[in-house]
Amino acid sequence: METTLLLNTSLLLTLAIILTPTLLLPVSKTSSNSPTTITRTVKTAFLISLVPMTLFMLSGTESITSYWEWKFTTNFKIPLSFKMDQYSMMFFPIALFVTWSILQFATWYMASEPHITKFFFYLLTFLIAMLILTIANNMFLLFIGWEGVGMMSFLLIGWWQGRAEANTAALQAVLYNRIGDIGLILSMAWLASTMNTWEMQQAPLPTQTPTLPLLGLILAATGKSAQFGLHPWLPAAMEGPTPVSALLHSSTMVVAGIFLLIRTHPLLANNPTALTLCLCLGALSTLFAATCALTQNDIKKIIAFSTSSQLGLMMVTIGLNLPQLAFLHISTHAFFKAMLFLCSGTIIHSLNGEQDIRKMGGLQKMLPTTTSCLTIGNLALMGTPFLAGFYSKDLIIESLNTSYLNTWALLLTLLATSFTATYSLRMTLLVQTGFPRTPTNPPTNENNPMITNPITRLALGSILAGLLITSYITPTKTPPMTMPTTTKTAAVIATALGIALAMELSTMTHTLTYPKQNPHLNFSSSLGYFNPLMHRPNTTNLLNSGQKIASHLIDLSWYKKMGPEGLTDLQLMAIKTSTTLHTGLIKTYLGSFALSILLILSTQT
């Protein structure tokens, strides 16, 4: 059978399977839309999506299909076209696998939620939007997916809408994403006017792409993928339920920005300024997020900053003009980050809502499966040799060390790698080891297979995914093959230094007393003072000036001063000056008129 036919059919079948719960919603209200059904739907879709992935791995088949065309104007058409290439076909099974595990976990985690079906629907809608974004062949469809994931992120972060902090966090997410959307629309407009199409398979320009549309794309990625400058929404998004954090803000939505840059990398490839900007921005993001993660005490915030740091690393890879490697890191990162979030969800529920790691401890004996998977996830995150994270992270660091690039970016990324090890080990030590600092009777329970199955499945993925993907996908650019031993082992040495730092700090905490506040601790734990410095003045000025414009400018100025009262003021001014001039002696004036007329008449005749 022709491979492209099988490819297209199976991928479309995957999408159709995912859409079925949404189509069945108005039809039946009983059991066909329960959370279990939705989980089973996603599992089926995952298994079907393995078909195109294996097909691609074994035969290298790619296809671009278009189904319908929106004849916008006579020379600008927007087709509904799907691009099934390496990136979309690898992403589908990974996203579906992770979503399946998260949905299975959420049936336990959100079991006490009265609107659990609506929650699952929101998650499913998010997944559909994300998959549309992935498979889109033109910017229009990508934009639909882009906005879709932004909307669902808003709805899901503010799931517990009675909580003001959750509402503020959701608002923050929407506003920061919107600022990024400005950049995306700018580059879409440039594309439409220059290339006259929004398709992505056009040949790259032979000359250097102008920097402005690339700046737009980078702004879009900064907003969506929480790079430095538009990053505060990601830690704030931890107000949402843990399955939301696991799905959106670790594996799928936040990689949409990086995915956009991967899709448009032919445009980026021949503009060194844009690449250097990506590199520097990514390096700054990864170091800033890693620094902030060092002093956080909320377990979800530590993992959120870890995500932010890894996104910065992906941006660095884009800046090195290695989109395939960035995608590899996206794929491996999805597994262990989702697993870290699910483990933290189990821990939080087991301690009756406690999220502060200073009140956890000794969980290794109380929750063995969860903490073992937490350890595996942390090891994969740190880039332990031959786990999943190693294949992508080590390659990135090797390419960094052997390229012609900004020295400071290289140093920052290496420092961030060691910080990754430090905060991961800090989290592990405070959560799993030591004496329990929890209340004496927590409802610790991990006997439910709904908990252990997803976590162990993702652990298996964290161990094997890197090996499997790199064995079957041939790289498009030759990786650096020869380098000195120091360079080859640079990542491992940086990680080991980070571990040593963490061990040293933990022994210091137990033996020496430290001062309570110092500038570095304040800087790190207040997230670089970015949040208050940016949020308070900007919003105050905007809202104040909005109020003044609405009441003073419009009401006072346009309606009153520019109309009746302004005229009154002008006339009053004229009147006041001329009042002194005329004295009102009518009889004298009449007499002078009569006298002058008589004089004129007498001179005439």
Binding site: T168, T276, Y404, T407, W408, L410, Y529, P532, T540, L543
Partner: protein, 158 residues
């Protein structure tokens, strides 16, 4: 019939102390606390000028009549109260003073930018050397004089 009576609505700017006392009573405030906006033509009337404090600064554990906006019935609301709700501007005191925060953040940002600039001027790359050819760096093939001595070429071995 459902509107407020005329003496409960905001009125013109109070000029005499009696008007001030009446306005303070109308707004359920003490005469000492009552301070109207200055009368500069912007139309505030006798509405009190409350301190610019957002809802974040009010006690979260007190049993307010309206817990979501942390407000009691009859309490005078700020002119810009919709700006100071819990979803918007937060005026609560920061643990670190504002000028310290600004200074440290700008120091961080400027250090990063300067170092990135330095990194651009002095980039990092693998060590490279000029390409080496055999036969005295291809002296004869490049049109060198066969009678003259070729220049000395240093070869490197890795």
């Amino acid at each position: 019939a459902s509107e407020m009576s005329k003496d409960l609505m905001p009125g013109p700017y109070p000029r005499t102390p009696e008007e001030r006392a009446a306005a303070a009573k109308k707004y359920n405030m003490r005469v000492e606390d009552y301070e109207p906006y200055p009368d500069d033509g912007f139309g505030f009337g006798d509405y009190p000028k409350l301190p610019d404090k957002s809802a974040h600064e009010r006690d979260p554990w007190y049993q307010w009549d309206q817990p979501d906006v942390r407000h009691n019935w009859g309490q005078p609301m700020h002119w810009d109260f919709d700006m100071y709700i819990r979803n918007r501007v937060d005026t609560s005191p920061t643990p670190v003073p504002w000028h310290t925060m600004r200074k440290h953040f700008l120091l961080f940002l400027s250090t990063m930018l300067i170092m990135f600039g330095l990194g651009e001027i002095y980039p990092s790359y693998r060590p490279v050397g000029p390409k080496q050819y055999p036969f005295n760096d291809l002296y004869l093939e490049r049109g060198g004089d066969p009678n003259k001595e070729p220049p000395v070429v240093t070869h490197y071995e890795i």
